[in-house]
Amino acid sequence: MHPDDSRKPIQVNEPSENHNTLSKFRLDIPVELTAFLNSAVARIGYLFPTARIDARDGYLEIGLPENLDFDDFRQQLFYSIYREKIREEGKDSRHALNVAVFGQ
């Protein structure tokens, strides 16, 4: 997938105040990355405990407090997904490394 295709079709709704004073956003996730979403969302929720993230079918519903900028948050969320993907796909190399160095 072309990088522009994978990152730009993010539908961002206009911020709206809800009763918890969180601005709500919708973030579409490219299908190739959804396999890494659960671990990335777990991690990003831990890094940004005041944000609310609900995984839906192919997209995320995100609630952000005033002090979190959506663009920055989106960037960090995608970075988190990338990191999970890289780690997952690096398993074989890490295993080979451990076998070569420790013999197991």
Binding site: M1, P3, S6, R7, E32, R43, Y46, L47, Y79, Y82, R83, K85, I86, R87, E89, G90, D92, S93, R94, A96, L97, A100, V101
Partner: protein
């Protein structure tokens, strides 16, 4: 072609820093990151990654073996016990503002090793499976118990092929017998000098007469023994930081070319007197300013000066096997290759652990000279000695160069499982590594000249700061 897993972090001017687990690094941009994540790297990408040690064809490839070797040499192995920090007395003849381990008054009793502790300690030395030994005498003021220092040194000289001794003294009151002791070729002096006379006096010596005595002893130490045998370290209060140029000038005048900037330590009793809140930013601002001045100094002078810890971080970035600083290793094994023996014979894994224990919140002792090492307690401490599987560190671009500090976490938070990025150790080292990489990628010839000095190379090669465009 397979690419070793890369970690990344945003750096200057929209660039990203990429590192692998063996410590290789390069800078590139968002477009590369997306090609990498999408699995659509170009031939040029692969060629760059292969040439810089980030990729291999298969496990029979020399590039694979090379990576394994570099990765393995970054692992700090469990080593034989051959290094002791001894506290023969807690008594001291100064009352420094930030004394970290509750010194005892010079005339107090019950704060020295007794004959039994000395006998048991020497007995434990005789059981060691090592031919070399290093002993660091701390305190209190260790020269108050010169008799113990002499006995320990004599024992080590007679029982080990190679023995080295460091006396960490305030050089306040040094008898002729002590000067003679310090003059031996195998004995080194580590003292404190806060970089600016007024600061040293206000924080340590207090009175002019006392300060003059220290100053005279400091001069004598350097003139008699030289910088090969004498080192001096400043301790700085973040709320009262000195002028960097004055500190550099003072150390250069003493002939010293390495300055280890240390803040007042949070561990121990200093936390009661000093306000440590929100000091990280102020410290890093000063630290950067100090290094900037060092760079200027090194540009204008032939005798280059380093900030010790920055040089250490740079060496850990560029080289493998740099394990000579016990505060930053991975795994950072506790209670194996070195031990602290307190005035009462208790063993501690580090001096900071001793400080934490002295304030009574946590007992981090791991045995004593009588009963030996408490292996169970040591194992518990070492359960988090490594950053290899830490849920935060596994994603950190600096993982290969860094290492955990369990004692610091316990001291500050009473636990070791809080998010890394919220710990002082992580925040401080992230800021330091960010700064180190700023310097590595600097195009300023002044910075590059200093980098060459600090890395011990005749000339800093800018090709070391690789970029994938």
């Amino acid at each position: 072609m397979k690419v070793w897993p890369l970690k990344f972090r945003e750096h200057d001017h929209g660039e990203l820093l990429f590192t692998n687990e063996a410590g290789g690094f390069f800078r590139s941009d968002q477009r590369f990151l997306e090609r990498y994540v999408d699995g659509i790297l170009t031939d040029d990408d692969f060629e760059f990654l292969r040439r810089h040690g980030h990729a291999y064809r298969d496990t029979s490839d020399a590039a694979f073996d090379g990576f394994c070797g570099r990765w393995a040499r970054r692992i700090n192995p469990v080593s034989k016990l051959n290094y002791f920090i001894l506290i023969p007395t807690l008594r001291c003849n100064l009352t420094c503002d930030y004394c970290q381990v509750s010194r005892a008054p010079e005339t107090a009793s019950g704060f020295d090793w007794n004959d039994e502790i000395l006998r048991q300690f020497l007995g434990s030395l005789s059981k060691l499976d090592t031919e070399t030994i290093k002993i660091e005498f701390q305190g209190g003021e260790p020269l108050l118990r010169l008799d113990i220092l002499e006995e320990v040194r004599e024992f080590c000289r007679n029982n080990f092929r190679q023995a080295e001794f460091v006396v960490c003294t305030n050089l306040q009151s040094v008898s002729e017998e002590a000067w003679e002791f310090l003059g031996a070729a195998d004995t080194f002096i580590s003292t404190s000098f806060d970089g600016v006379e007024e600061v040293h006096r206000s924080q340590r010596t207090k009175e002019s007469v006392v300060h003059s005595e220290f100053r005279s002893n400091l001069q004598r130490a350097f003139s008699e023994f030289g910088t090969a045998k004498v080192s001096a370290l400043p301790t700085l209060d973040v709320h009262n930081l000195p002028d960097p140029d004055t500190v550099i000038r003072s150390f250069v005048e003493l002939g010293l070319r390495s300055i280890y900037l240390r803040r007042v330590n949070y561990q121990g009793f200093a936390r009661k007197r000093y306000d440590f809140r929100d000091t990280q930013e102020a410290w890093m601002e000063f630290y950067r300013r100090f290094v900037d001045r060092l760079v200027e100094h090194n540009w204008e002078n032939d005798d280059a000066v380093e900030e010790y810890y920055l040089s250490h971080l740079l060496r850990r970035i560029f080289r493998t096997g740099v394990q000579n600083h016990v505060d930053l290793r991975n795994p950072n094994w506790l209670g194996y290759d070195y031990l602290v023996v307190d005035f009462d014979g208790q063993y501690y894994p580090t001096d900071e652990a001793r400080m934490v224990s002295r304030i009574g919140r946590l007992d981090l002792s791991i045995g004593d000279v009588d009963s030996g090492i408490d292996a169970r307690k040591r194992d518990v401490l070492n359960s988090a000695a490594s950053n290899f599987e830490d849920p935060d560190c596994i994603h950190c671009v600096y993982q290969a160069y860094c290492g955990p500090d369990v004692i610091d976490d316990l001291s500050r938070y009473g636990r070791i499982d809080i998010p890394r990025h919220e710990t002082a150790h992580c925040q401080h080292h992230t800021a330091l590594f960010d700064f180190a990489f700023e310097l590595i990628y600097s195009e300023d010839p002044k910075v590059q000249r200093s980098l060459g000095h600090w890395l011990g190379t005749p000339k800093y090669r800018t090709e070391l700061a690789a970029r994938l465009k």
